[in-house]
Every structure is written in C-alpha cells, then in structure tokens.
Amino acid sequence: MEGFGNSALFFHKQSALLNSHTQYTEMVRLQPDPFLNELTNMFERTTEKGSVWVTLKHSSDKSKVKINKMKTAGEKIEYKCLVRATDGKKTISTMVGQKDHSRFQSSYATILKTRMTALKKRERKDRRKTADSDKKQEPKKPSSAAKPSN
C-alpha cells in the first residue's frame, strides 16, 4: 500500500488507494474556512473506525517550471502552507498564507482539542519531566506503578 502523500506532492489530484483496487479520489481544494468545516466532519465520521491524516507542507502552489522562470526573472515567489486532510476516501486541501495563518492555526488547534479525545490521560508517572500545570492525577484508579504525586 502506498503511503499517503508519498507520491504526487506537486500535483493537485491525488490517488487514494483503497483496499487492493486503485480508486482515484480527486483532491478538493477549498478555502481555509470550508476546509476547517470539512475537517471537523472527517473527524466526526471516523470516531468508530478509520483514520484522519493531516499533512502540512511549505508550498508555493506553482509548478517547478514556473518557479524556475520566476527565479530567473527575479520575481519573488510567494509561499504558503499547504494543508491536506484525508480519511482514506476523501481528500481536501487548502493553502494558508501569512495573513491568515494565526487564525487558521488557532481554529485548527480547537478542532484537534475537541476531537482528539480518545488519547489516554496520564495515569502512570512515567514522564517525570512534563510538569504541566493542569496535570490531573486520578487517585481512584490504582495504577500499577503509580508514584505519589510530587
């Protein structure tokens, strides 16, 4: 199975391999806000099974040919952050520029915080270094190697 994102980094259409058959899913390019909405839907759809992949890449959204032409002409190439998301069936993408990156990054962080709830809360004290102020020890659970909280 080809890993997601290994091929066709510079192309807009990507193939998503499903099972052993090759099915081509078109990459849908969205504006940042619709992208975030659709990303939320992806997380909602994959709670029972499935994965959500999100990939970030520094990109100018132009072909190599165009980039070389622009370089020789001395033009400044505008770079943005290309964000792609897929659930294995559907792929969406968006370009985030300098101006909207702060807003996008906080909305994105909110989505993740809301959706990534299946990860384990810290039960064992095997990471002494992380002194997060909001660490919540749950004493009702008698963990195997539970050290007393410091």
């Binding site: 029972e48 992949w53 890449k57 520094h58 990054q105 962080a109 915080k113 990534m116 299946a118 997060d132």
Partner: protein, 103 residues
C-alpha cells in the same frame, strides 16, 4: 521508518530537517479515534522520523509543534518562531541556507 522515543528529540530533528530542506519536507499527522493513537511523521523523502503516542499530554505538545510548523511554512523557513515557545538551542542555529528565493 524511524520512531523517535523522546519528544524533544523528535522536535529538534524535525526542525532541522525542515530548515535544511524546506521545499521537500512535509509534516504529517495521523489520528485514529477508534484506537486512540496518534502518529506524527516528518520527512523530506530521504530521511524520515516518526513519533507515536496514545497519551493526551503528547497531543498538547503536538499542538505546539503544529503552531511552529504553521508559522514556518506560512512565513518561510527563516521565520522567527521564538514566540511559539521553541527551545533556545534551536533558535541558536540560524538558517544558513542561501536566500536565493528572496532575491
């Protein structure tokens, strides 16, 4: 696929990788709610480093890394990420790559 055990190692290596190959490097996140697992990957198609976890605390660290990468990728590899709270040692390595793009 190289799994890195320590978060700090992963953070440092991924920033180095990005700064050395900003055009080829990508940062990938895979989340499986059903398994409660999160896997992070940074690669430039020559080298690859991964970090996997099932801990909620790592999700918070990943958020920081997300912010760092958003800043770097939207603003350019020479972007100042000190406000994102990156370690000083990483800042101490200014990008020595030629600035051909910006000329």
């Amino acid at each position: 696929m190289v799994y890195v055990a320590s978060w700090d190692d992963f953070l440092e290596k991924s920033l180095l990788l990005f700064r050395s190959q900003p055009d080829q490097t990508r940062y990938s996140t895979k989340y499986r709610h059903c398994d409660g697992k999160l896997v992070l990957k940074v690669t430039d198609d020559k080298e690859c480093i991964k970090f996997k976890t099932d801990q909620a605390q790592d999700a918070r660290k990943m958020e920081k890394l997300n912010n760092i990468f958003f800043t770097l990728m939207a603003n350019g590899p020479q972007a100042d990420i000190s406000e994102v709270g990156v370690k000083e040692q990483i800042e101490a390595q200014p990008a020595k790559k030629g600035r051909g793009r910006k000329q």
